[in-house]
């Protein structure tokens, strides 16, 4: 669902067409204003966007949030736990009442606590969002940077350059990425490139995801560039004596911003899932740092006694990926005039 191969081939047509369609006051309105107006009417996309914004805020202010609720993400509280089963007690003062089917959800612990060690799940989910969004966002930026540069170069210059870059994309797309990631993360030393421990591991994750996922966006950019460079305004510019640099930076790139923005939004959830998969396999971030995938893996041991522990991080991943996808779809619809009513 997130492999953005179906490019909105006509989004660059948006400006002239919207002007031509002449909705009221067409005069001063830019593509962005029109798109925003469309997007506002798209309730599903808006909902996705709101969730995305909330998630980003939660991740940004994670330390503040956990400070308010009083539980650092790695702090044990084994008073809440039944030592026999590792499950969460209904009432720590009365162990005889047995396990809490809701996993200790209360005003103290908004999402309950983790079995065995009693860490606060809300706090770990919020901190996990930090890890997930950080890795996914930076990795997406890396994808976009590499993909845009190589895509434009391939599309604009064509010829053997295009052939070489396109074949390189094929090779990268054929790469068994997950296996490679597992192997590479398995041999990361304690420190390298001036980074230590988890900083280094985050760096490696970003590198793997970003460096191997760029061809998706690269292909789209190349395709767009191929059509753009034949367009009249480019021809006009060229006939007026503009150099390649001018054409690329002033004529082509501005028209690429929209598709790049849309596909970045759709790439982020892929990368979130990828990071979660690696953490689930135990090759991502080292404990005790909270990650959603790592929490899920840990939870599988307890699904009979503490089902909430599976559900909470599972829902977090699900909602995040869904929200980003809805948001991205909404953006695409908004920028793509063919979807206009």
């Amino acid at each position: 669902m997130t492999t953005p191969l179906d490019a909105p081939e006509s989004s660059q047509n948006a400006a002239p067409e919207s002007l031509a369609s002449g909705t009221r006051g067409a005069a001063g309105r830019s593509l962005r204003q029109i798109a925003w107006q469309r997007f506002r009417r798209d309730r599903v996309g808006m909902a996705g966007g709101v969730v995305v914004v909330l998630l980003i805020l939660a991740a940004l202010f994670a330390p503040l949030l956990t400070a308010w609720f009083g539980y650092p993400p790695n702090q044990f509280d084994q008073e809440l736990i039944d030592p026999l089963t590792g499950g969460v007690l209904q009432d720590p003062d009365q162990p005889a009442l047995g396990l809490d089917p809701w996993g200790g959800i209360s005003t103290q612990h908004l999402l309950g606590v983790e079995p065995v060690n009693g860490r606060d799940l809300f706090s770990r989910i919020v901190h996990g969002a930090r890890t997930s969004l950080l890795v996914a966002t930076i990795a997406t930026l890396v994808c976009v940077a590499i993909g845009t540069v190589l895509g434009v170069v391939a599309g604009y210059f064509g010829g053997w350059i295009d052939t070489a870059i396109s074949r390189a994309m094929d090779i990268f797309l054929a790469f068994p990425l997950l296996l490679f990631a597992i192997a590479l993360v398995g041999v990361i030393p304690d420190g390298a490139f001036g980074l230590q421990g988890n900083d280094l591991r985050i760096g490696v994750l970003v590198f793997i995801i970003g460096f191997f996922n760029w061809p998706y966006i690269g292909r789209i950019v190349r395709g767009q560039t191929l059509t753009l460079r034949e367009r009249e305004f480019v021809e006009a510019s060229r006939s007026l004596g503009a150099g390649s640099a001018h054409i690329v930076f002033r004529e082509i790139l501005p028209n690429l911003v929209t598709p790049i923005l849309v596909y970045s939004t759709l790439l982020i959830p892929t990368n979130i899932l990828f990071e979660a998969a690696l953490s689930f396999l135990g090759v991502g971030i080292n404990p005790p740092m909270a990650t959603w995938g790592g929490m899920l893996e840990n939870a599988l041991r307890f699904y009979t006694t503490s089902p909430h522990f599976v559900i909470v991080p599972g829902l977090a991943i699900f909602l995040t990926v869904l929200a980003f996808n809805l948001f991205g779809d909404g953006l695409r619809d908004a920028f793509d005039p063919r979807s206009s009513d």
Binding site: I81, T85, G282
Partner: protein
Amino acid sequence: MSTHHVTRALPRRTDPPAGRASAPLAAASALVVLLSACGGDNSGNQEGEGEFNDGESAVVNPSDERGGTLRYALAADFDSPDPGNTYYAFSWNFSRYYARTLLSYDQEPGEEGTELVPDMAEELPESDDDSTEWTVRLKDGLRFEDGSRITSEDVKYAIARSNFGDQALPNGPKYFADLLADSDGYEGPYADEGDPLEGFGGIETPDDRTLVFHLDEPFSEFPYVLIQPQTAPVPADADQGEQYQNRVVSSGPYKFAEDYRPGVALDLERNQEWDAETDDLRPALPDRVELEIGVEQNEIDQRLVNGGVDVDLAGAGVGPAMKGTLITDESRRPDVDNPQTSTLRYFNVNTVMEPLDDAACREAVLHAADRDALQRAWGGDTGGDIATQIMPPSLPGSDQSIDPYPSQDNTGDLEAAREKLQECGRPDGFSTTIGTRSDRPADVSTAEALQQSLSRVGIETEIQQYPSDSYTNTQAGSPDFVQNNDLGLTVYGWAPDWAGGYGFMSKILDGDAIQQAGNSNVSELDDPQINDWFDEAQTIADPDERASIYAQIDERAMEQAAILPVIFERTVMYRPPHLTNVYYHAGYSMYDYMALGTTRE
């Protein structure tokens, strides 16, 4: 979460260091970890007779009623059902149905189960004064399934095929090759067409019923080597090397009903030539024994509880999902056993890297550790008992009173820890790394719990994860890697090949056992006093005297703070109510399969 697969990695052979007899235990380490994998399960009692964990200390549902079919299931296949070619603890237990050995563990619940008794031997072997020559006499009236007599030559041949030469059977340990004298040039029975035992001088067979073993070095625990299934007799003319596993010639109460089908099934029926008069150890109750191979673990657990299977052969206990169900379901509790295995879960505390090379810094770690939290991380009371010393209670010489780092409620003594930090010149603490196995959730939880408790006194740690199939060999198992990655603390597990202190402790505490890869003495403890004690123990014939030396070693290693013991592991096993004579056997760390019967038609 147990450690099945390490078996293959460890049975490397090491040459015995000069003047020591440590080689035999090279392979001990393998089973060590293996045994942890093999708690048992199955068993039962007439409806309502057993109570929770009765099977650990008593025979549940005793009966001498014969008949019925006993149904085993197994998730991953045998290495081989050939008694000469197997290193899985469950296989050592199961193969006794059709393969009698010279000695065996006693058939008793509790610690008595680790005592040695004769099986094919008339009595326990006698040694000369310096424990280098051991004599065993076979009972009269022992026969193979075809009616022919079992002779001392058949036993000697079995040992030869599993231990000697390039074509020796690959899976089992090679204790005999390491231990026996006068056999250096012997190429094994498959080497040439002539007499298969030509040149094998380590075992003499002066007559049909006598075996005399000659050892290179004194080795007072040699009788333990004679419980191995490799000592089960094999008629030379029936041997087909590794293919002998298809139809092992039985010396026990059952024989192969048809050929063994690898990955599918192995069915046994009664062997009419077996004489119960010669065998005190095998009541042989069921008429038939069936084994289904390749059943997924969760399915085995389900079928155990639903009555579709009687015993999970692997004996490692139920999987985590069923474990949660069983210990929370009151109506199932009477049919659940939760016995202590001989496996120690612990942290190695490195003794050579800064600042842990200072014993006071290591002691600070042991004082600060919250043992209660560590036990919870390992699954709480059903996961194991808090350990304050190194040797599991079932081993001779284990002294439960050793506890140099006591604390209120086992939550750690922070005052004492801070004092020790002062003493080692790091009053504000220090930092190091905890190594753990990424695919072992309990290992990771334990590491997190230790990290939490150490941070209370300023000892800051970072957790590094490694894949478990290389962990014991190239990460924790490599002193260079440990040094370069600052792995001051490493999560580890250990179980003995046999119930002796030497078998348990020498590989993890003896300075001479440190090696460059596959190292098990991860803390790199090289204490002259402890090394001397290990040497000394091997020349002492009296088991009690040996046991007291092992207790001294245990106590001194704890004082040196080279090991932070966490728990003696427990497994959760389901004991179906229709099983009879069920008890947990401390020697095999699972139910005693020879005793089992069934009331199911």
